[in-house]
């Protein structure tokens, strides 16, 4: 890592921790796990230098708990882990969602299920990142495809988290985590700072909204005002309120509305050669770069392919996907699992439209040739 005219060469994991510190993260709690460990290692080294704190917890249950605890106090906080650890965090993720506490969780994906293979990449957690914790809930999940994008999207994860008062997840993978690339470190970074309430010394109402998509400010614990919250369905004062069906419905709706009504602020995607495409490839993360190269290769063979790459995976940019689907003959996902993204495409596709998955689930990043032949095979008339 050397800072050269604003450029630095670093790994994906290093970009993640440096992006987080640039975003103002000053508390990290974690537990060692391959392939995410370097994020914790660098947090332990770098955070004290900027007055921040690193905490090695007894397990991943404790890691996310401590992160949310720190966020209550007004400190931007994060944790990073991989499959097994992310599974352990699911209950506390629900705490962050219903109590509306900003924080960032990084999942450096490895091959699963269970211990799977610790050292190799996969994309088996795409659906877990949406539905991993129980109960109906919203999810904001970002999936960068390069080291530079890991840096930028980590910053954006903190901004979205503070803006929407909710946990935000960032998905990387074992290869992106250890890939070294050049990153331009911006001189100025736009940061969204948490809205805190005016201190009026009375008990604060942290869940009071006039419109169901409004987000109340969040004063920090230890400040001028006092407030409480529970993971139980609560009233505007934050105390449990389970007796009213109307309140239950209102709270759950609020959690969704506060994000779904502001999709343009959350959604982010990139398109490559989609203008005249007849075959649409949908892909996220590192493997999308192979899919992008496959688009060029397919075009050189006379197949007008294009790439749709969500950078915000959840909420999925369904509107844009639908628009693109209307213009193409067939569409496929390109993903490193047994086919998770493809189900989203199928939801949006027309009944007669051919939709298929080009997948590889062997712990290696898909090669361009494999994607090209997978697409050609899928498009071939039956």
């Amino acid at each position: 890592m050397e800072n050269n005219n604003g450029y630095m060469v670093m790994t994906g994991n290093e970009a993640c921790i440096r992006g987080a510190i640039a975003a103002g993260m000053r508390f990290f709690a974690g537990y060692p796990i391959t392939p995410a460990t370097e994020i914790a290692e660098m947090a332990s080294e770098l955070l004290p230098r900027v007055g921040g704190r690193y905490m090695q917890m007894e397990d991943e249950l404790g890691s996310l708990a401590a992160v949310i605890g720190a966020s209550f106090v007004g400190v931007k906080a994060m944790t990073a882990s991989s499959g097994p650890g992310i599974s352990l965090m699911q209950e506390n993720l629900g705490v962050g969602i219903i109590e509306e506490i900003p924080c960032v969780i990084v999942d450096v994906m490895r091959q699963g299920p269970c211990q799977g293979v610790a050292t190799v990449p996969a994309q088996g957690d795409l659906m877990q990142s949406r539905w991993g914790t129980h109960g109906d809930h919203p999810a904001i999940v970002l999936v960068p495809c390069s080291v530079a994008e890991v840096y930028a999207e980590t910053v954006r994860a903190f901004n979205l988290s503070e803006r929407f008062r909710t946990p935000v997840m960032l998905l990387s993978d074992a290869t992106l985590a250890h890939l070294s690339e050049r990153v331009r470190i911006p001189e100025h970074i736009e940061l969204y700072e948490r809205k805190t309430a005016p201190s009026d010394k009375r008990r604060f109402l942290p869940y009071k909204w006039n419109e169901p998509d409004e987000i109340a400010p969040m004063p920090h614990f230890g400040g001028d005002t006092r407030w409480s919250v529970t993971g139980i369905v609560h009233d505007e004062s934050g105390f449990s309120s389970t007796g009213s069906p109307a309140r239950i419905a209102e709270l759950v709706k609020h959690l969704h509305n506060k994000i779904e009504h502001f999709l343009p602020e959350v959604e982010k995607y990139e398109e490559y050669r989609t203008e005249d495409a007849e075959v649409l490839i949908v892909s996220v993360g590192l493997v999308s770069r192979c899919a992008r190269a496959a688009v060029d290769e397919l075009r050189s063979r006379g197949v007008r392919a294009g790439l749709f790459r969500p950078i915000t995976l959840w909420p999925f940019p369904e509107k844009r996907l639908s628009e693109l689907l209307r213009k193409v003959k067939c569409a496929c996902s390109c993903e490193m699992n047994e086919g998770q993204l493809v189900s989203i495409i199928k939801q949006s596709a027309g009944r007669e439209q051919r939709v298929f998955a080009v997948t590889q689930n062997d712990g290696t990043v898909m090669k361009i040739d494999a994607i090209v032949s997978g697409v050609l095979e899928g498009c071939r008339d039956e």
Partner: protein
């Protein structure tokens, strides 16, 4: 401050009455905690109550402090994050025997080991009350609960001895019948610089007491006079005589280990510099 003023200052009136059953010991512990907070002279705005799930965890909901009601067993890990993020806070963890000694056991021993400045008040009513009276890791052997109808087969934890062994620097046990000692110990725990535990022996007349024929709340309170033995007296008793009894008193009050966040502050000074 008079009793009335303590409760007026620290209780949220429109949240009362509590959801606790008549005769529950938890309310006595809440009262002792509020008196202790007053005696320790803590800044009300600097107090954070973290709590887990169960009857014990509901205490935060009646008190006018900052409070986080979290996930079952995890309150101490949430508390750890809050204390680390702002060491000037007085972080108090309200928990029960199931929440602390079972599902949260791992967080508990590691918080003891780190000696992080959090005061844990464990209300031990020897069963899972909120879910209807199942045996917990502190239920005595042979006792009847909803999941031990033939008598509990598991030996119980002595949570104070566990805390001492794990490195906690202030550890004490008292019963709700002994309100003066209980309040004194909680006051000392709040003023202690390091991890402190007060185990409050509580009665659950609705479930544990009823299932074991111990009578109502007053009868169970009286039973504490035989079941709880002060440390000095215990020294004169045989192992047989002490069987099934809990020894009360101060198990640890050490000043030889530095509190964790203070230690980390010195690390920050040492590391200070550029990225």
């Amino acid at each position: 401050m008079s009793e009335k003023h303590v409760f007026e200052k620290y209780l949220i009136e429109n949240r009362l009455p509590t959801m606790l059953c008549p005769g529950c010991g938890n309310g006595i512990v809440y009262g002792a905690l509020l008196r202790a907070i007053d005696r320790a002279g803590l800044d009300q705005n600097k107090i954070v109550i973290s709590s887990g799930i169960g009857c014990s965890g509901r205490g935060y909901g009646y008190m006018d402090f900052c409070g986080m009601h979290t996930a079952h067993g995890r309150g101490l890990a949430f508390a750890t994050g809050a204390k680390m993020a702002d060491p000037s806070l007085h972080v108090i963890f309200l928990t029960g025997d199931g929440d602390c000694a079972s599902i949260g056991g791992n967080h508990f021993i590691h918080a003891c080991r780190r000696n992080i400045g959090i005061t844990t008040i464990m209300m031990n009513n020897s069963n899972y009350g909120m879910t209807g009276g199942q045996y917990s890791p502190t239920t005595p052997e042979g006792v009847r609960t909803k999941t031990s109808v033939y008598g509990n087969m598991e030996p119980p934890f002595d949570i104070c001895s566990l805390a001492v062994a794990a490195g906690a620097t202030y550890v004490a046990r008292a019963g709700t019948y002994y309100i003066k000692e209980l309040t004194d110990y909680i006051t000392a725990a709040l003023m202690h610089d390091g991890f402190s535990l007060v185990e409050a022996m509580c009665d659950c007349p609705t479930l544990y007491g009823r299932l074991n024929g111990q009578g109502g709340a007053p009868a169970m309170m009286k039973l504490q006079k035989t079941n709880l033995v002060p440390m000095e007296k215990a020294k004169t008793m045989s192992e047989e005589e002490l069987s099934g009894k809990h020894i009360t008193g101060v198990y640890a009050d050490r000043r030889d280990r530095e509190e964790f966040t203070a230690r980390y502050d010195r690390l920050i000074e040492r590391a200070g510099g550029k990225l």
